[in-house]
């Protein structure tokens, strides 16, 4: 393939940047959608219904899946390449350079955790919702009870009543937070849209976005965990 | 057999000489240039610019440097700037004024015609560099900025922060890269020229050592250009790079090229003083600092004692107790007198007991007045990187306390003798930049070294070399399998084998430090007949010691820095003696050459024009033989030789 998006380092990075950007936008949408669940199960389920096995939701899902695959495949490709470029003989002593964030040097590890969390999340929700509809069903069994494919609120309620899920999800969100603190400003840099004036601003935006995302997602998890486990007092 | 020196200076008015000469010399057609090979030794401003320009013209060029990349040549370390007679500041500068300042700065020991040509092409250099993308300092209007340098009363120095040499070299290196990419130039980094091959009286190539593998290689060419810089490291401690050496030039001398004015050494006034015996290198603080810095020592000896004892800080000394000795002695030029004058004045004060550090060998360079006048921000903008560098080395902030400075060996005006075409006494062998002797006389003005290197490389040699090569268009490729090459290669191999076999007790550096000490004490800032005679005897003895007692470890057929250093030191041990001999012969003071017996009542250099208005050209006669002197008389047709005056 003779395209700079595939055969040049800067081009490959652009693919990471754009796919990353699209994923961040999706995550922001997903987070806003989740927040609805805190306030109203009906409202949340209405959104779930919109995102059932209809054509636009399916196209969206396929698109997202493609983005994740591309983002991850390119990450692997680049990392292998980078590992080779580093050479066989590694430094015996390595010291952290001042001003270099931990996240920036561990994006692949963070990415793998995020991906792992995503798979878990898909098994918890998508497999019980859109997938059921794709397969022609309307409900599935979750923790001994049947839940409708459109009743996202019930799924949330059930999933986050389990403490281990809460822990896993929070770890997942934390990894995502780290990943995004670097990823969000980095995608501007890679696209060439950054300079010394904008670095502090972009890094601030990155912190803000990742923190909002973390808090937004975590809020739902925590609220539902609290609701489920101390129903008497709330 | 003395040299028959013909400087080939064109006839006619000073301003017409170069144009007339260019019109008169022959050129080589493009088709023939392709058939001609040129070797360039060194990739600094001279060599880099020459190799690039020659490649661009269509010659086949091979360029050699000892560093790992052409970009690292020591031209890169020049800080302050480059002169040109642009008159952008409207301060009445002109080609003539630049010419005159340079001749006068050189204390009337340079060739008028060469210096005028240098001033003439200086403007082209700035144009060329700007077009290459050299980011010179600019004013808010978008046009080029200038600053002042020693020995001039106009602002004609173009600069790129404190990294002018670097930027100009990156320009030349970029031009070189363009030609390497085009295939006209082939680059040989980490290669050192160990001999020049002369056959039938003409330069035919070189013997080089691959510094990585240790292999000895033969390279043939129709002309060889030496652009290997100066030999200041003969003093061991100097501002030169550790690898800078005089060996390439010295091989030419040994093979019959005349070596001119070897004793003319520039001692730069603003270097960081020596701190101890473990030092390997002296650090220069740019001359541009003298634009705003004021040089002084205390007036009272009690203050000096208190300073040395650490009882007071320099800033504690009151204004009226400070002796701004340059401003006192040279009111017209003040702190911006030429380098030789500033260096000697510092030595005079230190000899009188006013040196301000423990060794008594330092004076102050103070920015207090400038900071009060301009504010710390402006000073930071102008000299921030230099101040940081100073603080890094000495642990003292020049914003708070004055810098301590002392003179150090910096540049060698002497070098291989060349005619107006930059050709040495060996046909086909050229020398450009600091490696030759031609343009700076007995003292070089600040910001003129960059000018000369680039002038020779871009604008002089590419024309003049054609005159010689036009006679070679029928000549076949140089055969490197001839007795001359065999002999040269054998000599180099024998020398290496000899050095490796001595296995004595002293390291190369041990002996080099001894040589440096002899040179600095006896052939340094002030020389006497006695000190020079002492130097000659001591160097001869040290040379014997070297060949009996040096220890060179390692394998010659591999990367071997000790061997490289030993080969260079072997040459320094002869070159040092040559410098002393030349200094002894020149029984006068001029520029950087100060013979204590020859000074005016005020302690200024006293020239003897009737006897010494010549370039002393030496011919090699063998390691322990006295070299033979030939004089190239210097005619001053267009300037009036006078005692240099920087007072009014």
């Amino acid at each position: 393939m003779n395209c700079f998006l595939y055969n040049s380092s800067v081009g490959k990075k652009l693919v990471m940047s754009i796919s990353g950007c699209a994923l961040v936008l999706f995550i922001l949408f997903h987070m806003s959608m989740n927040l609805a669940a805190i306030f109203s199960a009906e409202a949340y389920n209405m959104i779930c219904e919109l995102l059932g096995a209809n054509w636009y939701a399916l196209v969206g899902t396929a698109g997202l899946a493609a983005l994740v695959v591309v983002h991850f495949a390119y990450a692997l490709l680049l990392t292998i390449n980078n590992y080779r470029a580093r050479g066989k003989q590694r430094y015996a002593v390595e010291t952290k350079e001042p001003g270099v964030s931990w996240a920036s040097k561990n994006m692949l590890v963070l990415g793998v955790i995020v991906l792992g969390g995503l798979l878990l999340h898909l098994s918890h929700f998508w497999a019980k919702m859109q997938l059921v509809e794709i397969l022609g069903g309307h409900e599935s069994e979750v923790g001994g009870q049947m839940i409708a494919a459109t009743d996202g609120a019930a799924l949330i309620q059930y999933t986050f009543s389990q403490w281990y899920n809460v822990v896993l999800y929070l770890v997942w969100f934390a990894a995502l937070w780290f990943h995004l603190t670097h990823g969000v400003w980095s995608m501007f840099q890679t696209a060439g849209w950054a300079n010394d004036t904008w670095y502090p601003r972009l890094k601030c935006i990155a912190q803000l976005v990742s923190t909002i995302i973390f808090l937004g997602f975590a809020a739902v998890v925590v609220v539902f965990f609290v609701k489920a486990n101390c129903g008497c007092c709330c | 057999m003395a040299f028959k020196l013909d400087a080939k200076i064109p006839a006619g008015a000073l301003a017409d000489k170069w144009s007339n000469h260019k019109a008169a010399i022959k050129v080589v057609s493009p088709a023939n240039k392709r058939k001609l090979d040129i070797i360039v030794i060194g990739t600094g401003l001279g060599g880099g610019a020459a190799a690039a320009s020659l490649g661009e013209l269509g010659y086949n060029v091979k360029v050699f440097c000892i560093q790992d990349s052409p970009r690292r040549a020591h031209s890169i370390a020049a800080q302050g700037g480059i002169n040109a007679a642009k008159n952008y500041q409207n301060d009445n500068d002109s080609v003539y004024r630049l010419f005159y300042d340079t001749i006068k700065g050189g204390d009337y020991r340079a060739r008028e015609a060469n210096v005028y040509r240098l001033a003439e092409v200086s403007n082209l250099i700035i144009d060329q560099c700007v077009a290459q993308g050299v980011p010179f300092a600019r004013e808010y209007g978008g046009l080029l900025a200038n600053r002042s340098f020693g020995g001039a009363q106009v602002s004609r120095t173009f600069y790129a922060r404190g990294q002018t040499g670097q930027q100009l070299l990156l320009g030349a290196y970029a031009a070189l890269n363009k030609e390497i990419a085009a295939g006209t130039v082939k680059s040989y980094p980490r290669h050192e020229m160990l001999d020049v091959v002369v056959e039938n009286g003409e330069a035919k190539g070189i013997i080089a050592r691959n510094l990585v593998t240790g292999e000895i290689e033969r390279h043939g060419a129709h002309a060889v250009v030496i652009a290997s810089g100066g030999y200041g490291n003969v003093f061991f401690l100097s501002t030169n790079a550790m690898g800078s050496n005089g060996s390439a030039a010295f091989q030419c001398y040994r093979k019959g090229a005349g070596f001119a004015n070897p004793c003319f050494t520039q001692i730069h006034p603003t270097c960081i003083p020596v701190h101890g015996t473990q030092q390997s290198k002296l650090t220069l603080m740019s001359e541009s600092l003298r634009n705003d810095g004021r040089i002084w020592v205390p007036k009272k000896i009690e203050d000096v004692k208190a300073l040395r004892a650490g009882k007071i800080k320099p800033s504690d000394i009151k204004e009226e107790d400070r002796d701004y000795y340059l401003e006192r002695r040279y009111p017209a030029f003040g702190n911006l007198v030429p380098r030789d004058v500033a260096s000697r004045a510092a030595k005079e004060r230190c000899d009188a007991g006013f040196g301000v550090n423990e060794t008594g060998l330092a004076v102050f360079l103070d920015f207090k007045t400038a900071i009060e006048r301009l504010g710390e921000d402006i000073i930071k903008q102008r000299y921030g990187n230099l101040f940081d560098m100073y603080e890094e080395i000495t642990d003292v902030s020049p914003y708070k306390e004055p810098m301590q400075i002392f003179p150090a060996v910096h540049y060698t005006m002497g070098g291989i003798w060349v005619d107006y075409n930059l050709m040495t006494t060996i046909p086909g062998l050229y020398a450009i930049g600091e490696a030759n002797f031609s343009d700076h006389g007995a003292n070089r003005l600040g910001a003129s070294a960059l000018m000369q290197g680039l002038a020779d490389g871009y604008f002089v040699l590419p024309y003049t070399i054609g005159d010689y090569l036009s006679k070679k268009i029928q000549a076949p490729k140089v055969d490197v399998n001839t007795p001359a090459f065999d002999e040269a290669e054998k000599a180099v191999k024998d020398k290496i084998a000899k050095l490796m076999s001595i296995n004595g007790k002293q390291s190369v550096d041990d002996i080099h430090k001894k040589l440096g000490h002899i040179m600095w004490e006896n052939v340094g800032m002030a020389r006497t007949e006695q000190s020079l005679k002492t130097a000659i005897t001591e160097i001869q003895a040290l040379r014997k010691e070297f060949w009996k007692d040096v220890k060179v470890v390692g394998d010659p057929m591999s990367f071997n820095v000790e061997l490289e250093k030993a080969l260079r030191l072997a040459d320094y041990l002869e070159l040092g003696e040559l410098m002393a001999r030349d200094a002894l012969n020149r029984a006068e003071s001029c520029g950087g050459h100060f013979r204590s017996e020859h000074q005016t009542e005020e302690g200024e250099a006293l020239r003897h024009d009737e006897e010494f208005a010549y370039a002393a050209v030496w011919e090699y006669k063998g390691m322990d033989q006295e070299p033979e002197l030939t004089k190239e008389m210097l005619d001053y047709e267009f300037t009036h030789r006078a005692q240099r005056n920087y007072k009014d």
Partner: protein, 247 residues
């Protein structure tokens, strides 16, 4: 001051290397790091041992020759300085100091601490120049250049090509080096003319020579002895992408 030195020794490119330990004693705090190595080497020569090979030349922080990885950092402790500008007062008496060569696949070791950085020359040969002939140029003041642009160009042009960026980068990426040249010329009207061609050619050469990809960690700018900003990498990205999108 006294130090224990753990130094990487490697006979040549083909041999396997290993660390060796040396002691140096009685070192003044005002001694530079390389002078300290000179002292060690002089001792080794007296002992008849092969001295440690290391690159160095100007010892003023400008030639870009020195290249040591000291205690895990390119050019050792302290920012905005080359190895030759490090003084022993930066260390504590009795310290153990580990000295390694640049490690990057594109910079093979030649001997001990000396590496081959020819790849950087090759990248510049691919396009790091303005294609002007000697003498066929306009007057230096013919094209005014805004001071800010000239200053920014100079910021980038301060690169000394030492290789610390690629040596430090966990990806072995030469982006800061390439960006410095591309950006410096891109800010000047003289360099703009062939800006697109230059960006494409230099990035292609960089990739071909086996350097890694930039992941914006910023380690290069932290270790760059000339403090060159990764803003120049952003500009390189912009130049390259704009050029490719116009193809």
């Amino acid at each position: 001051m006294n130090f224990t030195l753990k130094i990487w020794r490697q006979k040549d490119a083909k041999s396997k290397g290993a660390f060796e330990t040396y002691k140096v004693t009685d070192i003044s705090a005002d001694t530079s790091f390389l002078e300290m190595l000179d002292i060690l080497n002089n001792n080794l020569v007296h002992e008849g041992k092969d001295p440690v090979a290391f690159d160095h030349d100007c010892r003023e922080g400008i030639c870009g020759m020195c290249s040591l990885h000291i205690n895990g950092l390119a050019h050792g402790p302290g920012q905005a300085a080359t190895t030759c500008q490090i003084y022993m007062r930066k260390f504590k008496d009795g310290d153990t100091i580990t000295i390694e060569p640049w490690r990057s696949a594109a910079f093979p070791v030649i001997k001990d601490l000396v590496v081959n950085r020819g790849a950087y020359d090759q990248i510049l040969q691919a396009g790091g120049y303005v294609s002007v002939r000697t003498n066929s140029v306009p007057d230096a003041n013919a094209i005014p250049i805004p001071k800010a642009d000239a200053d920014e160009s100079m910021d980038a042009a301060a690169c000394i090509g030492c290789g610390a960026c690629a040596a430090t980068c966990k990806n072995g990426s030469a982006m800061l080096f390439v960006a410095a040249r591309v950006s410096s010329l891109a800010k000047l009207p003289q360099g703009r003319v062939e800006g697109a061609r230059r960006a494409k050619a230099m990035v292609a050469k960089m990739d071909e020579l086996g350097f890694g990809n930039c992941t914006n960690t910023g380690a290069c700018q932290a270790e760059c002895p000339k403090g060159i900003s990764i803003a120049h990498i952003a500009r390189l990205n912009r130049e390259f992408l704009a050029a490719k999108l116009q193809d």
